[in-house]
Amino acid sequence: MSAIEVTRTAGRTAVRLARPRASMILRPRLVLTCAGLAAATFLVLCYCLATGDYPLGLGEVIPALWGGGDQGTVLIVRTLRLPRALIGLLAGAAFGMSGAVFQTLTRNPLASPDMIGITQGAGTAVVAGIVLGVGAGLGTQTLGLGGALLTALLIYALAWNRGTTGFRIVLVGIGVNWVFVGATQYLIVKAKVYQAQQAVGWLVGNLNGRGWESVRPLAIALAVLVPVMLLLSPWLRSLQFGDQVAGGLGVPVQRARLALLCAAVGLVAFATAAAGPVAFVALAAPQIALRLAGTPRPPLTASALCGALIVLGCDLTAQRLFADLELPVGVVTGVLGAPFLLWLLVRANRSGTGG
C-alpha cells in the first residue's frame, strides 16, 4: 500500500494517507472559494487602511503598521484605522463561524444566534445600561458580553430535560428571544428620544469610535476559540445528520453539542460585545459561503472569511458613501448582503446547493 492513495468515486476525489492515518475529500471549489474570499478580504482591509479623509499609499501604510514612517501616518494607521478595521474583520469572522455552527447543529438555515435570543440578551443588557444606568460603569462591552453569555446559559439550562435536542434549543431560544425583545422594546419606548437613538445605534451594530480596548478581548477570544472550533469540526460533521446517526457514528452527542455550542456562543458573545449585534451576518455569511463553495453544509472557514468580508466591506461602504451620516455598519449589511444572498438563491443550479 502506497503512502498516498487517491480514489475517485461518485465524481469526488478522496485522498487517503497511510501514516498518519487520515483521509479527506478534495474539494477544489471550497479551496478556491476560501482563497478568493481571503484575497478579497485582504484587499478590502488594505483599502480600509489606505483611504479616508487623508489618503495614504500602501508604501506608507505597511511600514506604519510597525511604527515606521512619520508620526502622523503612524497615528492615522495604528490608532484610527487599524482597530476599526480589525474589529470589523474579527467580529465578522466570529459571526460567520458561529452562524455556521448554529445552522448545522440545529439543521435550520434560519437558526442564527440572532434568531434564538443570544444577541438579544446582549442587547437588553446594553440598552438597560444606556436607559436605566444599570451597570453603566461597566461599559457596553462588558454588559454585552455578560448579557450574551448569561442568555446562552439560560437557554441551555431551560432546554435541558434529561438531555436536549437541537430542536428543543431552537424552541426555547425563540421563547427567550421573545422576552428579551420585549424587554428591549419596553426600555426603548420608556427612554428619552436621545437615549433611544443611542440604544438603537448600538442595537444595529456599530464600529464608530471603537479602539484597541475593543480589539484585544475579541482577538484573544478568536485566537482560542477558532482552533477549538476547527478541532471540534469532525463532531459537527456527524451531528449534521441528527442525534441518532451521530450517536451511531460514535459521537458523544450531548457532550459534543455542548462543546460546540460553548465555542460558538463564545465567538458570538465577544463579537457582539465589540461590534454590537451586526444584523444579518451570522445568518447570511454561512448561507452565502455554502452556495459559493457548493458544499452540503455551511463550511466553517469559508463562513468565517465570508462574514469578515461582509462586515469589513459594509463598514467601508458606510464610512465612504455615507460619510457625513456616520451610518452604522449594521444598516449596510442588510442592504448589501441581502441582494447578494437573493442573487445566489435565484441562480442556484443544483437542488442540493440551492436549498
Binding site: 421563547g175 421573545w178 422594546q185 438603537v200 444584523a279 444572498l341 435565484v346 436549498g355
Partner: protein, 361 residues
C-alpha cells in the same frame, strides 16, 4: 366544527389510535388531551377574556353597567367608553391575534421551519418600510393614513419575496422561500433603521408603532380590514388538509395528488392577507404567531385541521390577556401589548416545550 373534519388521509390505509398522529420514529408521550375538549375550553377562555377586556380599564366600571351599556343604547358616558374605546380594542385583539396565530401556523407549515413567523415573507418589514416612507417622505400623520400605507407595503414586500423565491432553476423550495423572505426582511429593516437613526421624528413614531398596540383604531377601520382577514382566514382553513400532506415532504405531497404551486400560492396569499392586515392595524406583534402554533402543537399534535382553529382561538387569548394585564399593571399608564405578551407568554411557552416530546412542524 367537528362535522367538517374528515378522517385523516392516512387512516384509510392504516387505522391508528389517536396517539399515533406523531410522525413515525417519534414515540408517543402521554395520551393527548382530547381536542374537542381543548377547543371548548379555549373558546370559553376567550369569551371570558373578551368580557374582562370590556370591563377592565383605566376607569373602573362595574360589569353590570358594562353589560347594560352593551345591550342598551350608545349614549351616556359609560356607553361611550364601552362602545368607542373598549369594543374596538377587544375586537382588534381578537382579530389581530387570530390572524397572526393562523398566519404563523401556515407559514411554519409552508416553509417546514419552526423558526418561521408570520412576518417571514417580509410582511412586517414591508409594512414598517412603507410606514417610514409615509411619515418621512409623504408626511402622513393620521392613524388612518398609516394603516393603508402599511398594508400596501406588506403586500408589495411579500409579493417580491414570492416572485424572487420562485426564480432560478431549482424552482421554489421551502428553504428558498424562507431565505428569500428573511433576506428581504433584513434589507427593508436595515433601511428603515438607517432612516430612523438619521431622522429622530421617524424613530419616535417607529418605536411606538413597533412595540405593537391595540389602541387607536376605531370600529370603522376594523370593518374595512375585516374582509381581508376573513378571506385570508378562509384560504388558510381550506388549505389545512393540503398542509398536512405537505408536512410529509414535497415529493410525498405531490405523489398524493397535491399541486405544490397551488398550495404555495394559496398559503402565501393567506399569510399575507392575515398578517398584512393585522400588522397594519396592531403593529408587528409577530411573536404571537411564532409561538402559539408551537404551543398548540405541543398540546394537541401537528394535525393542521385542528392546529389552525385552535391557534385562532388561543392566540387572541394570549393577546387579550396581555392587553388586560398591560392596562392593570401600570395604572393609570399602560404597557404596550406586544411587550406584556412576551412576559406573559414566554414562561408558559418554555414550560410547555420543556415538558413535552415535540413533533417538528
Amino acid at each position: 366544527m367537528t362535522e367538517e373534519i374528515r378522517p385523516p388521509v392516512l387512516a384509510k390505509t392504516a387505522p391508528a389510535p389517536p396517539a399515533d398522529d406523531l410522525p413515525p420514529g417519534i414515540p408517543a408521550g402521554r395520551p393527548r388531551v382530547r381536542r374537542p375538549v381543548v377547543l371548548a375550553a379555549m373558546t370559553a377562555l376567550l369569551l371570558l377574556l373578551c368580557l374582562l377586556s370590556l370591563a377592565v380599564g383605566s376607569r373602573q366600571i362595574p360589569l353590570g353597567q358594562v353589560l347594560s351599556a352593551l345591550t342598551g343604547p350608545h349614549d351616556g358616558e359609560v356607553g361611550a367608553i364601552v362602545w368607542d374605546v373598549r369594543v374596538p380594542r377587544t375586537l382588534l385583539g381578537v382579530l389581530a391575534g387570530a390572524a397572526l396565530g393562523v398566519g404563523g401556523a401556515v407559514m411554519q407549515a409552508l416553509t417546514r421551519n419552526p423558526l418561521a413567523d408570520p412576518g417571514l415573507l417580509g410582511v412586517s418589514a414591508g409594512a414598517a418600510f412603507a410606514l417610514m416612507l409615509s411619515i418621512g417622505v409623504a408626511g402622513v400623520s393620521s392613524f388612518y393614513g398609516y394603516v393603508w400605507f402599511a398594508f400596501g407595503g406588506a403586500l408589495a414586500a411579500s409579493a417580491a419575496v414570492y416572485v424572487l423565491s420562485g426564480l432560478g432553476r431549482g424552482g421554489q423550495t421551502p428553504i428558498k422561500l424562507a431565505l428569500a423572505g428573511i433576506a428581504v426582511t433584513f434589507m427593508l429593516e436595515s433601511i428603515t433603521r438607517g432612516v430612523s437613526l438619521v431622522d429622530p421624528q421617524v424613530l419616535n413614531r417607529y418605536r411606538f408603532w413597533s412595540s405593537g398596540s391595540l389602541t387607536g383604531q376605531d370600529t370603522s377601520t376594523l370593518l374595512q380590514v375585516l374582509p381581508f382577514l376573513a378571506t385570508g382566514g378562509l384560504l388558510a382553513l381550506a388549505l389545512a388538509p393540503a398542509l398536512n400532506n405537505l408536512a410529509l415532504g414535497d415529493d410525498v405531497a405531490a405523489s398524493l395528488g397535491r399541486r405544490l404551486r397551488l398550495i404555495r400560492v394559496q398559503g402565501v396569499a393567506a399569510v399575507v392577507l392575515l398578517t398584512g392586515a393585522a400588522v397594519a392595524v396592531a403593529g408587528p406583534i409577530l411573536f404571537v404567531g411564532l409561538v402559539v402554533p408551537h404551543a398548540v402543537r405541543a398540546l394537541t399534535g401537528p394535525d393542521q385541521r385542528w392546529l389552525l382553529p385552535l391557534t385562532a382561538v388561543l392566540a387572541p387569548c394570549l393577546l387579550l390577556a396581555a392587553d388586560i394585564a398591560g392596562r392593570v399593571v401600570a395604572r393609570p399608564q399602560e404597557i404596550d401589548v406586544g411587550i406584556v405578551a412576551a412576559f406573559l407568554g414566554a414562561p408558559f411557552f418554555i414550560a410547555l416545550v420543556r415538558r413535552r416530546r415535540l413533533a417538528e412542524p
